[in-house]
């Protein structure tokens, strides 16, 4: 207890030390200019070490259900800063540590310093900083510190994302990300300033200590929803997300999609925990926003044919599912149904963890493909399953998990959220019930669309025959890249097959979020019979194995031939005639054309003997290209007068500052 303040207990010490290790992991690499590979390995090692410490600290915090807060009583201008750990923070630390470690190891194979001597040290440094800020963010116990970590996270992510800064597409995506993330931060400034009114410090209030009624609470809720929703990528606020996730190096995409957007969720969950009573409309707003976000997110994903953009849109979908869970929990609090709170929030928190696992698995798998094939275009790949059997099987695991299908982890969290919907429909009352009734079919539709989308991706990329020579030349990545994926896939299967252990980890976090739940007497195991999920999952696996063995015997007993695929009598099919991802999705994209606004460029047939032509179709980022950009362009035209204020004359700028100061002084007076 000497090096650390006595207020911090053992698990907290582990977490803080781990975080420092992660934050410092890139430093040696910056000085080891001569041997970048050693620097990178050292960075990866430090991140893994830090993550392990953080993970153990987090697990210990949850299992012992302890809460520790420490106040740095320094004379900062904003007052004392508080740092602390409780089961809710610790629950968010679990995915942070797992994904950070996996991505760090993966990075050594994906972006080897030997091939990228200039960018690799920089990437390692910012990656470590990013991981550290992500681990520290849930520990912040006051608004100022929260915003500091939030900003470090945003900037570190920006630099990690802009690694390939010679590429125009990457620069554009990074710029949009930077602007949007700061707009979100601005909203959070407002949130924390509003939270301070009434109190005299920025320190977070305790759980369930504020009153949720009244205009102040409404303002705090709305600004927090905007700020956190922007970070989380909820539907109309998601404009930065697809570009940023697609342009970053794959392991950075994995951590962005797996963790960074979850910090938006963390912020929202933490702020909501301050409130004792919440009005029902908060829950209704969140539930509706979740429905919109998930359906539109997955619909846009179906239209994409850039592998990473597609996965990025699925992040929007999954954030929608998480927000639906939070909405159910808030509705449950408003209409006083603890079961609903338990199911909704448990589903949301578990989905945070699950999505972190399978989405980073998918991004890492996509990275393995892109790394070798050199393209993100799904329609230029194909048949990779033969050349990369490991990657294919692992990607398939992630795909089944993200579709929420049994027996993997995605099902468990969606199951909890569904149970919340149905219990609300059965015994709920008030205006929220019809919306809960609508939410279940909406989530079912999301599930169906996700299946369509991932069958499309998996089928086009890994099955069939290679469509290009690059795709035909792909080979399995090394263990540095494969290992993390195997680890993540095992975790997905474990959570999916043995969810009985989950209440032990979820309940402390839930009770921290809303202490009244602990007194309600109902545990998660009573509300959701997770043991049955295990039984049915085992039954499914055993049945598949049994049928598989029988069929295998039958196949071996009888003669077996090989021939070409049935081509309907056409003599010379080529591999490019295979069904592409775009054609697979076409029917659905047409159904959703009103929202997706697909664009296609087709050759015009003018004469009886048409010459060759090209056909291209794509689904643009509708909100950005059809709403935001035209709005900004219009604003740009209208506000050209105001631009005269920006003329480069230094003394006039100083005058502005002076005038502002004078006005503020006058106002204060």
């Amino acid at each position: 207890m000497d090096a650390f303040p006595a207020g911090l207990t053992e698990p907290a010490r582990l977490v803080i030390t781990g975080t420092l290790l992660m934050g410092a992991s890139g430093l040696p690499g910056l000085f080891l200019k001569k041997s970048p590979t050693e620097g990178q390995l050292c960075a990866a090692l430090l991140v893994v070490l830090g993550s392990l410490m953080g993970l153990f600290g987090a697990l210990a915090t949850i299992l012992t259900e302890q809460t520790a807060t420490y106040t740095l009583a320094s004379t900062l201008p904003f007052g004392p800063c508080a740092i602390g750990i409780d089961p809710l923070s610790a629950f968010f630390l679990i995915p942070v540590c797992i994904v950070a470690a996996c991505c760090a190891v993966y990075g050594t194979g994906y972006w080897p310093a030997a091939q990228h001597p200039r960018t690799a040290p920089r990437l390692s440094f910012f990656f470590g900083l990013l991981a550290a800020s992500l681990a520290l963010l849930p520990l912040a116990r006051d608004g100022v510190l929260f915003l500091v970590f939030w900003e470090v996270m945003a900037l570190a992510a920006f630099f990690a994302l802009a690694t390939e800064d010679w590429n125009r597409e990457v620069r554009d995506a990074a710029k949009i990300y930077l602007v949007v993330t700061h707009i979100g931060t601005l909203a959070l400034f407002a949130t924390f300033s509003l939270l301070r009114t009434g109190g005299d410090s920025f320190a977070f209030p305790g759980a369930a200590t504020l009153d949720g009624t009244g205009p102040l609470a409404t303002a705090i809720f709305l600004t927090a929803l905007f700020g956190c929703g922007m970070k989380a990528g909820m539907m109309p606020l998601h404009i930065w997300l697809p570009g940023a996730h697609a342009s970053a190096p794959s392991h950075v995409s994995a951590i962005m999609s797996g963790i960074i957007i979850k910090m938006g969720i963390y912020g929202l969950v933490r702020i909501l925990s301050f409130y004792d009573t919440v009005p029902a409309w908060w829950g209704i707003v969140l539930l509706a926003a979740g429905i919109v976000s998930s359906i539109l997110g997955v619909a846009f994903a179906v239209g994409q044919h850039d592998l990473k953009r597609l996965l990025a849109y699925h992040s929007i979908e999954n954030i929608g599912i998480i927000v639906m869970g939070i909405g159910v929990a808030l509705i449950g609090r408003a209409i006083d149904m603890p079961g609903l709170v338990l199911l909704g929030m448990a589903g949301a928190l578990l989905h945070v963890l699950n999505h972190a696992l399978f989405k980073s698995l998918l991004f890492l798998g996509a990275g393995a493909v892109i790394h070798d094939a050199g393209t993100r275009e799904i329609d230029r790949l194909g048949g990779l399953g033969r050349r990369m059997p490991w990657t294919a099987a692992l990607f398939l695991t992630g795909a089944v998990a993200i579709c929420g299908l049994p027996p993997l982890n995605g099902f468990v969290s969606e199951y909890l959220i569904y149970l919340g919907f149905f219990s609300g429909v059965v015994s709920g009352k008030g205006a929220a019930v019809p919306l809960l009734g609508l939410a279940a079919p909406a989530l079912a539709m999301v599930g169906g669309l996700a299946v369509l989308c991932f069958v499309k991706v998996f089928g086009t990329v890994f099955l069939g025959l290679p469509r290009t020579t690059e795709a035909a030349a792909c080979h399995e990545p090394g263990w540095a890249m494969r290992g993390p994926m195997v680890f993540l896939a095992i975790l997905c299967a474990m959570i999916g097959l043995a969810p009985v252990a989950l209440p032990r980890f979820l309940e402390p976090a839930l009770f921290t979020w809303n202490p009244q739940l602990a007194f309600a007497g109902e545990g998660l195991a009573d509300a959701a019979p997770l043991g049955w999920v295990t039984i049915l999952g085992a039954l499914l696996v055993l049945m598949a194995l049994g049928i598989g063995i029988v069929i295998r015997q039958r196949l071996q007993a009888a003669p077996r031939g090989t021939t070409g695929t049935w081509d309907c009598g056409f003599a010379r099919p080529t591999t490019r005639m295979q069904y592409t991802a775009s054609s697979f999705a076409e029917m659905l994209v047409k159904l959703f054309a009103g929202v997706l606004r697909p664009k296609s460029h087709q050759p015009e047939v003018r004469s009886l003997f048409p010459v060759g032509g090209t056909f291209a179709s794509h689904v643009p980022e509708a909100v950005l290209e059809l709403v935001i950009t035209p709005l900004l362009t219009a604003a740009d035209r209208r506000l050209s007068l105001a631009r005269r204020l920006q003329h480069g004359q230094l003394h006039l700028y100083i005058l502005y500052i002076f005038v502002t100061l004078a006005i503020l002084l006058a106002w204060a007076y």
Binding site: A431, P434, L591, G594
Partner: protein, 212 residues
Amino acid sequence: MNTVADQLIVLVMLINFAALGTGRLAVAIRAVALQGVILGILPVLIHSFSWHLVAITVGLILAKGILIPSLLTGAITKARITREMEPFIGYVPTLLIGAVLTALAFAFAAKLPLAPAHQGLLFVPAAIATLLTGFLLLVTRRKAISQVIGYLVLENGIFLFGLLLTEAMPVMVEAGALLDLIVGIFVMGIIINQISREFSSIDTSRLTALKE
């Protein structure tokens, strides 16, 4: 409330969807005719017997179930149009909007300050839903004839609402409203014929050219 009437009202609301979802004008006309007949039967089911009621029922069935539909069918045969070609909003989206409007109708009905006897009845939401469906048809369809259908659905909605008050409604008022409607349809039918003869199209969106 007696269940047969409830089932019939549900049927009325389903017919709204049929009218929204079909592109064939003949089907839409028949659907609205059926709706009219059901509305004609309803008063007998919910109020006690009186000659006044019988008169209204017979009048309604004749007017809404036979007279108006035959007029409309005549109009579409003369104008040689069988289907609404290009609605402003597609059929599936209008169906979905219709579903949302119906849901909203239920929400509104729960909020309306009604007489205690009328609270919780299926009549009120059904009336509002039918009214809104009529509006939706009027807004989204191009052909004048589809707009007449929309107008009919709208009127059915108003009638459904009025059903709650039938006993208080004198025969003359009822007959007057019907007469109004029939005259309106006549005029529309004649206009449609004239327009289609003159312009070889009854697309109302082209009528904007007449504004000068």
